[in-house]
Structure formats: structure tokens, C-alpha cells
């Protein structure tokens, strides 16, 4: 096996690809071939990934290319971004935003600390969702909007609003909706964030489950992006984090990013992890850095 690994690494080096060399030496693990990504480029990193970003990089470009949505072979080039255009129209996710707003009003009406905790001292939550995930130096860990809601409910209301539960999803969706139109701005100068990014990147390429799939098996041009996976046109992961939580037409509900990751795992016959699991937080950081600069669109629909 050692010989095979050495040969593989040599092969990767020849191709100019950096492998995840000799990590987890005790157990045998397979990785999808890694492609270099520059996190500083944010969503524009897709230029050297699937290349589809040139069809959806901004509203005007997207508007020019909308006819691709009806073109079976080229539909993938829009990366489903045409669904973001409906963000001001009525999709069922707006009901969830309204529910979240009412909840925040009620809960902070009886306990104003809840609101100031959500806003980290501010009571105006507009735009704050765009900086997540972020490292909270007071708590010593990376926070997502979902874990902030959970944390604030527990500390100021003594109430469980666990991540992934309906009320947490409602409030999270409401908070993210207050940043719609604001470009995602995860702090890549933060060391803990970039350490999480590196772990998330590794997980993205890690093959797991009964099908031995990595995230990259589907969401990379060397995998399935640009091809048909039965009825699906698989998306590039660049910019995806900007539209969570999303209203899932197929499920008839709003789902958080971790709900999506749980479903990804389940569909590829891999054990789904709990909401807020550190591995999912790392993947969320990775995906969010790769959506940096792309305007948040919540709530919008996805299939």
C-alpha cells in the first residue's frame, strides 16, 4: 500500500496537484484529487474551477444569459443563480422570515438582552449576517448565525432553540434575510477562520460512506459539474453559501446549511452528523469563504 501511495503522490506531483499527503497515517482514507483554490478570490475563484461564474457573476451578466436555464445541456452554466432573482418576489420562505421576525420581537420584548446578544451589542441586525461564520474571541469558537441564535436563547432566555429546530431556522432565516443584497464578507484575515477553512477544504475532498463519495465527487468539474446526474445539473460550490437558509421546493420547507449537508451525506449513504457538528462548521466556513463577495439572497428557492 505504501508503494501505491508513493506512486500516487508522485503522479499527483507530476500533474502539479498538491495532495493531502500522508495525513491520518493510521487509517486508510481516499481523497478526490485536489485542485488549487485561492480563498482570497471569494466566489470569483470559480473562474478557474467550473468557469461558470462568467455567466452569473453579477445581475446584468445573469440577465443576459437567462435563456440558458431552458437549455438542457447548458443549464449548469447558470449554477441555479437564476433562482436568486426571485428574492424580492413571494416564495414560501418569506413566511418563515415573517415568523422569525415575530419570534425575535416577542422574545426580545420580554428579554431585551436576547436582541443585544444576537447583535453582539447592537439592536439593529441589518447586515450582520454577512460576516458569518466568524470567530468569537469571547466564546473562543467559530459561530454561525444558527449557533448564535442557539447560544443567545440559552444564555439570555434560558430556553433551548437548538440548531436545526423550527424556531432556530425561523430566526436564522430572518437574520440572514436582513443581509440580503449585502456581499458575504467572511474574515479571511482571521487565523481561526482560515484554520477551519483548511479543515473544511480537506473534508470537501475526503471520500466517505458506502458510495465512497467526497463532496468534490459531485461539486467539481473533475466530478459531475457540467454533466447530467440523472435529472440533476450539479452546481459548483462557489457562491452557494450566500443563499442559506433556502426554501427547498422538494421538501416544502426552509432548510439550514447543516440540514443540506445532512441530506448530502444521507443521499450518498454516509452517516449524517448533528446540527452544529464541528465538521459541518468547518465545511460551512470553507463554503462561505468561497462565496465571499457574492450578495446574500435569503430567502430564495432551490429544488
Amino acid at each position: 500500500m505504501k508503494l501505491l501511495r508513493t506512486a500516487l503522490l508522485a503522479m499527483l506531483a507530476t500533474l502539479g496537484l498538491a495532495g493531502f499527503a500522508a495525513a491520518d497515517d493510521e487509517i486508510y482514507r481516499e481523497y478526490f484529487p485536489r485542485q488549487p483554490i485561492d480563498p482570497a478570490k471569494g466566489y470569483l475563484g470559480d473562474e478557474t474551477w467550473s468557469g461558470s461564474v462568467r455567466y452569473w457573476k453579477d445581475a446584468a451578466t445573469l440577465a443576459r444569459n437567462l435563456s440558458l436555464a431552458k437549455d438542457h445541456a447548458n443549464e449548469w452554466k447558470l449554477n441555479l443563480k437564476f433562482m436568486d432573482i426571485d428574492s424580492d418576489a413571494m416564495n414560501s420562505g418569506h413566511f418563515v422570515v415573517d415568523q422569525g421576525e415575530a419570534l425575535v420581537k416577542t422574545l426580545s420584548g420580554s428579554e431585551p438582552d436576547f436582541l443585544t446578544c444576537l447583535g453582539e451589542g447592537k439592536t439593529d441586525l441589518r447586515g450582520l449576517g454577512a460576516a458569518y461564520p466568524k470567530f468569537d474571541s469571547k466564546l473562543g469558537r467559530i459561530m454561525t448565525v444558527d449557533s448564535r441564535v442557539e447560544h443567545c436563547a440559552r444564555t439570555t432566555l434560558r430556553r433551548e432553540l437548538a440548531q436545526g429546530t423550527p424556531d432556530n431556522v425561523r430566526i436564522t432565516t430572518y437574520i440572514k434575510s436582513l443581509s440580503t443584497g449585502t456581499p458575504l464578507n467572511v474574515d479571511i484575515q482571521s487565523k481561526p477562520i482560515m484554520q477551519a477553512y483548511a479543515r473544511g477544504e480537506k473534508l470537501f475532498y475526503t471520500k466517505a460512506g458506502q458510495y465512497n463519495f467526497a463532496c468534490a465527487s459531485c461539486h467539481s468539474p473533475q466530478g459531475m459539474v457540467g454533466k447530467r446526474f440523472r435529472g440533476e445539473a450539479i452546481t459548483s460550490m462557489f457562491s452557494d453559501a450566500a443563499h442559506y437558509p433556502s426554501y427547498r421546493i422538494g421538501k416544502g420547507m426552509v432548510e439550514s446549511m447543516h440540514e443540506r449537508l445532512r441530506t448530502c451525506n444521507a443521499q450518498s449513504r454516509t452517516v449524517s452528523l448533528p446540527f452544529g457538528d464541528p465538521a459541518y462548521v468547518d465545511i460551512e466556513v470553507f463554503l462561505s469563504v468561497l462565496a465571499n463577495g457574492y450578495p446574500i439572497a435569503v430567502p430564495v428557492e432551490r429544488y
Binding site: 481516499e30 440548531q163 436545526g164 466517505a208 458506502q210 465512497n212 454533466k227 446540527f275
Partner: protein, 187 residues
């Protein structure tokens, strides 16, 4: 998602009273005002246990065997389960596959689902991820090679996307034989 949109303030007061009573009678079940990581982990695990399985999940008998395979967790036992190494499986005896059963397996999502990635005769809405196999019989591959490639493609191509259907027990030995027979019928 349930429809409890409005939270009546009176209900909140009631809940608070119930919570405080519970605190008084069963303090070990309530987290402290500022819980540590252990309490948060416990709350997370409890919330998880109360969640329904994700939509799109496979049936219980499939899910039950998933912990035997690697997962992405840093803490769960499946995070330390080794990936099963590539196997070049010998075909024992003649193929004895059934084309009709093989067709069924190739077109069924919970079974082989070959059609999701390959163009095949007898299926609709094929994928384009893998090669077009609608003329597979003309490739001139033996039954043994066909069987071994469905069993585990990685012995030929370490970066293959195709799941190792035999090594990872997605299909039984007879089901692998049926699919191989179906492949050899693609003329």
C-alpha cells in the same frame, strides 16, 4: 415544518414557570444559565436524537449499516472507520446472471442506479457522468472483467467516481452477476 408562528406572551410566562419548576425539581436536567461545552454537546445530542431523518435518506435497513463506513465526523466512531481498500474480485464459476433482474437493478435508485450516470438501453433520462454504455457488449470485455469492474472500479482507476458496489456491499454477489449480464446484453 410546523405552523406555530405566533408565540403568545401568556404561553411564554407559562413556559417560564414550567421551566423554573422543572429547575427546582430536577436541576440535573436543565442547563445552567451559562453552560459549558459539555452541556452544549449534550443539548446538541438530545436535539439530534429528536430530529427526523434527513429527507432523501435511504430506508432504515440501508441506514442501519452506514456506521460501518467512513464518515466526516471528528468524534463519532465512523470517523475512524478505514475506507475499504480496492479489491480485484475473481468471478467464481460461470456468470449465471439474469438480464431482466439486472435491468431492474440498473434502473432503481436504491439499488445500482447505473442510469444516473450512464446512457443505457432500457432506461430513460440517463446521466452523462460516466461513459455511454448502451453498446457495452461491443467493447469485448469478458464476464469476469465486467463483474470485477462493477464490484470495484478502483483497481483499474483509483480516482473512479463509481461506487465500489461489491467491496462496499451495495449489491449482493447475485445482483452483481445480474448487472454484469445486463451489461453484456447492451448490443
Amino acid at each position: 415544518m410546523d405552523q406555530s408562528i405566533r408565540v403568545d406572551p401568556k404561553l411564554l410566562v407559562m413556559l417560564a414557570v414550567i421551566a423554573l419548576t422543572a429547575c427546582a425539581t430536577a436541576p440535573e436536567r436543565e442547563p445552567a444559565a451559562r453552560p459549558g461545552p459539555a452541556a452544549e454537546a449534550k443539548a446538541l445530542a438530545e436535539a439530534e436524537a429528536s430530529r427526523p431523518v434527513p429527507a432523501g435518506a435511504f430506508p432504515p435497513e440501508v441506514r442501519a449499516q452506514l456506521p460501518k463506513f467512513a464518515c466526516l465526523s471528528y468524534t463519532l466512531p465512523c470517523g475512524k472507520v478505514p475506507t475499504r481498500q480496492p479489491v480485484k474480485q475473481e468471478l467464481a464459476g460461470p456468470l449465471n446472471g439474469d438480464v431482466a433482474r439486472g435491468t431492474q437493478i440498473a434502473m432503481t435508485r436504491g439499488k445500482g442506479n447505473c442510469i444516473a450516470c450512464h446512457v443505457l438501453q432500457g432506461g430513460v433520462q440517463p446521466g452523462t457522468v460516466g461513459p455511454d454504455l448502451s453498446r457495452y457488449a461491443s467493447f469485448g470485455r469478458s464476464d469476469a472483467e465486467t463483474y470485477a469492474l462493477i464490484y470495484d472500479m478502483r483497481w483499474r482507476n483509483p480516482d473512479a467516481l463509481m461506487p465500489p458496489f461489491g467491496t462496499n456491499q451495495v449489491l449482493t454477489d447475485q445482483e452483481l452477476r445480474d448487472v454484469a449480464a445486463f451489461m453484456q446484453s447492451q448490443k
